[in-house]
Structure formats: C-alpha cells, structure tokens
Amino acid sequence: MTVPLTVSPTLALPEEPGESLWRGAWKRLRRSPMAIIGASIVLLFVLVALLAPVLAPYEPASSEWTELSTPTFVQGPTSEHLLGIDRWGSDMLTQLLYGARQSLIIGVVSTLIGLIAGAVLGTLAGGLGGWVDTLIMRFVDIMLSIPSLLLAISIAAALGKSSYALMIAIGVAQVPIFARLLRGSMLSQSKSDYVLAANALGLHKRTIVMNHILPNSLGPTIVQATLNLATAIIEVAALSFLGLGQSDPAVAEWGRMIVSGQDRFLVAPWLSFYPGICIAITALGFTLFGEALREALDPKQRR
C-alpha cells in the first residue's frame, strides 16, 4: 500500500483548509466570555484543591475550637477565623479549602471511570456493530432505565462507606450516558465521505475505526465529560448529604459539611451556606466551560 500517501491528505482535509476543528474551537473559546469565566472558576478550583495545605491558615480537621461551636453559639467571622468556626470546632476557611480537594478528586476520578468504561463500551458497540452492538446497547438501555442518582445511591450503599465507594458509584452511573453518546456519534461519522474513502482505499476496519472514526467522534463526548464533572461534584455532595461516602466527619467534604451544619441551623445557618455556595460556584464553572466548549465545537458555529 504505497498509493494512499498522495491521496489521503487531500481526502482528510476539513472543510476549511488549514484550520482543524480543535484549532477553530480554541480560537472561538478565547473569544467567549462564558468560556473565560468558566475556565477561570475551574482553574481557581483546581489551584485551591492542589494548594489547600499552603493556602489554609490552620490544620484541617482540628478540634481546637470546639468550645466555639455549641448548640446555642457558633463563632462567626473574626480576624483570626475569616469565615468563623465550623460545626466540629475547626477553622471554616481551612475546611472549605480542603473540601475542594475531596470534590476534585472524587469528581475527576468518577467522571474518568464513567468516561473510560463508557468509551470502551461505546467504541465496541459502534465499531463492531452486529450482535455486540445489540448486546451492549440492551445493557445500556437497562442501566438508563434507572435514574442515574438512584443508581449511584444504590451502588454506594452496597459498597459501604468510603470515598472509593462514591467514586465507583458515581462513575458507574455515568457509563451508559457516555457509551450511548460515543456510539451515536461514531455511527453518524461512519456514514461520512472520509470513511467511505478510507474503505475504498482498503484500509483495515480496525484502523478506520480507531484512527478515523473514533478521533472525529470524541467532541461531543469531551463536552459531556466537562458537563458531567459539574454533575459529579453535585452528586458527591448529594450522596454525602444522604450519609453515604466517607464516614469520618473530620475529613472535609462540602456535602457533609452542609448536613453537619443542620443541627446548628437556627443559630448559625452559614455553617450550611458556605459549603453549599462552594458547590454551586464550582458546578457553575464546569457548566459554563462545558457549554462554551459545546458551542465552540459545534460545526454550525464555524465561519
């Protein structure tokens, strides 16, 4: 096979010569205020999570100031504790900063689990077709027939109380979404001209799927993954709120901080408000960025 060398580059050219889909998307992203705000929030969140030990004014999960959090009085903001004291007597700011870590780790790992497992299933289904496709999609249909949060709740409950249980539960609950999405976009790609051309050139089916169809189908999946990070972070909080996940109350986790503030709710509602606001802002960042990415990658937006 020496012939394709001169033919395939011309065939593989995108509609606009010299500009790939991703480079065009990058250009549009830099111009979108939504993308910039979203990316800034995400970046800030990641930095806070990584640098929590440096940024935090005190040790996490200390119970140094337990006497400042009682059923009748909770210490509010002071110059030593900028956001006051948390439910268990640690510095609120410190706990919030460390909480970002938990959210980031569990959110990213669970989305990766969903993405990778879903991508493998989707690629197998879309690439092989036939009975493999039928079998996988039936399985995906079954999983989709259970609302994803309920699925995550039952998995987490079965696995026991730990952060790993949360990662697996939220990750597995995302698998069917990614599988179906990737299969769908692979199927639509497989009807396009460049696949026809690759077929005509006699390329091996696996090469066509892995080197041509798959890379071109990834766009919607990556957008979905970004948006799912937001959902995952909210779901982590939701599961912790229900008492699943990490059982040690000292480990800072935003969802559980909301719950633990509940018994001091009338005295110090901010115990629940601060972590809730953190969750909302983080989810906002990923959502804005994901939406902007979706718009930037949309072929209709080109020109």
Binding site: A158, A230, I258, F265
Partner: protein, 335 residues
C-alpha cells in the same frame, strides 16, 4: 395504528425489565454487606443471623432465590421488607401518593413558570431579560437540590414563617385520608382547610425539586422557540396577515412545544431521584425517604422492588410522552 404502536412499545419493555430484574438481583446479592447483620445490629449472635438467613431463604442457591423472586413478582408480590416486616407493595402504595404529590407540584411549577419564561426569552433573544432568564435557569442547574431546599426552608419557613418546615400536614389538623393524597383527601372529605394546609407543606419542597426540570424546560423552550420563529411557515403566516397572537399560539408555540414535551418526560427520572433528597430535607415520608431508609439497612426486597417499579413507571411515562407526540404533531402519527 396508535394502538399497535403502543402495544409494540409495551412489548419491547418486557426484555428490558426482565434483564433489569436479573441484574438487580445478581448484583445486590454479590456485593458485600449482610442484610441479616444490619437487621439484627451489632450484638447479633451467629445463631440468630443463621435463623434470619434461613427464614428469608438467603441460604438457598442463587438461581432458586431468583426464580422464587421472579415467580412472586409475576403475581404482583414484590417481597416483604426485612426491616419493616410488611409487604413491599403495601408500603409502596402507602408512600407513593406523597411522592406523586411532590412531583406533580414540582412539575407544575417547572412547566407553568418555565414555558412562559423560555418562550419570552426565545422571542427576545439577546436582550437583558433573555440574559436574566438564562442566568436564572443556569442557577437551577448548578445549585444542588438539597441545598436549595435548605435555603428555601431557611428564608421562607424559618425567617418569614410563610410556609411549613417539615411533614405533610400540620399535626393540629384532624383529617381523614382515604386515598393518602393529602390534598385530594381534603377535597373528597370536604375538609378544604386540610387540603390547603397540605398544599402549603408542598410549596417549598415542590419549588426546590422543580428547579431541575424548570432550568431544562426554560432552556429547551427558549432554544426551540428561537428556532421556530425563523421557519418558513411562520413567515407564510405573517404574510397571510394573521394576527400576531394567532401566529404565536397556533404556529410558534405549538411547534416549539414538541421538544419540550419529550424533555418533560425525560425529567421524571431526575425528579424521582431528586425526591429522595427533597423528601429527606422536608421529612415528607414518601417513597424517596423510604427508599433511602431501605438503602441504609440493606433491605434487599425493598431495594429490588422499588428500583424495578421506578424503572417500570419511568418506561411507561416515556411511552405516554411518545404517544402524546401524536396529539401535538400530526406528522409523527404517520411514521
């Protein structure tokens, strides 16, 4: 035509539900966690655990357990709750009304506020009202339901005292409950005060739960409307000299609603999972809260039965949505 379509869709449900029952059964059994132990607590002796396992048939071969389960299932028996010692189906019928009431209020909120807002934003795209509507809908996506429930509870129930903080009805109200739909019960028994009280208990949880579908309905309606107004048939209607209100109602809205209806159907799954969280915050005692309790003690029959039931409801609702398509869009009826 319609009937055959409905029947075919119903038939296609059978293998899905069958597969689901196998997966659920196998999977829940194979995972770690011992229902007998969580039922009896920390001080359980090996003998008492053995007795519980024996009486619930946990010692039988898995296949036998499954066949027994499925046979009972076909007769409408979802098993008996291990922790509450009552039939799952009974508890289900008992608690379902609370959840249905909550979901209906949430959905009414989402539709009644969401569609007009989305429609308005779609017709005035780019304006500041549009931006405001889109931002609000974004808030609905990023603020966790249970957190919103807590905020609403704090502002409107605790600070302003406008609504109730918990339960389905005030304890001072003496009401009969023939159907367990508290709002409906009040109307049936002629006790409108009880109905009103129950409704007041539903406002905050309904709004909290309703923000998820609200956000999505707003965005879909907006996108759909802004697409439809550029269609040829709208221009034709305009050039025919039809009144703006007629065009909006008969041409724009009707066509724009099609994707919205699908979305509403798809939201019901989200609503059911959101109900678990909302019911917990407001102690509403519906299936959401019951399911959560079942999870904490690993009550297998309850878990299996509920998830299966929810999947069935979910599928049936989607069927109804597909069928309602035909009513809105005559083109779908043919294909």
């Amino acid at each position: 035509m319609m009937l055959r379509f409905a029947l075919r869709r119903l038939a296609s449900l059978v293998p899905t539900l069958f597969g689901l029952s196998i997966l659920l059964f196998a999977w829940l059994r194979l995972l770690p966690g011992d229902p007998a132990r969580s039922l009896l607590g920390q001080r359980a002796t090996p003998e008492s655990i053995e007795r519980v396992n024996e009486s619930y048939g946990f010692n039988d071969p898995l296949l036998q357990q499954y066949l027994k389960y499925i046979w009972a299932l076909l007769q409408g028996d979802l098993g008996t709750s291990i922790s509450l010692k009552e039939p799952v189906l009974t508890a289900f019928w008992d608690k379902l009304p609370a959840t249905i009431e909550l979901t209906v209020v949430a959905l009414i909120f989402a539709v009644v506020i969401g569609i007009p807002l989305g429609y308005y934003a779609g017709r005035h795209q780019g304006g500041w009202t549009d931006t405001a509507v889109v931002s609000t809908s974004l808030l609905g996506v990023v603020v966790p339901v249970f957190f919103l429930a807590i905020i609403l509870k704090y502002i409107f129930a605790i600070q302003l005292g406008l609504f109730e903080t918990a339960n389905r009805q005030s304890s001072r109200i003496d009401a009969e409950h023939p159907t367990n739909f508290y709002v409906l019960d009040g109307i049936i028994t002629g006790n409108l005060g009880a109905s009103w009280d129950a409704l007041l208990h539903l406002v905050l949880p309904g709004i909290a739960l309703g923000t998820i579908p609200f956000a999505i309905i707003v965005r879909i309606t907006r996108a759909s409307v802004s697409e439809v107004v550029h269609e040829d048939f709208v221009r034709t209607a305009e050039s025919k000299g039809l009144a703006a209100s007629t065009i909006n109602r008969r041409h724009v809205l009707r066509n724009a609603l099609l994707p919205v209806v699908t979305t509403i159907g798809l939201q019901l799954g989200l609503l059911l999972s959101g109900a678990v969280l909302t019911e917990t915050v407001f102690s509403l005692g519906g299936i959401g809260q019951y399911l959560f309790d079942a999870i904490t003690v690993r009550d297998y029959p309850v878990l299996q039965g509920f998830i299966l039931f929810i999947a069935l409801m979910y599928a049936l609702i989607n069927l109804v949505v597909d069928l309602s398509y035909g009513l809105i869009d005559p083109r779908v009826r043919v294909s």
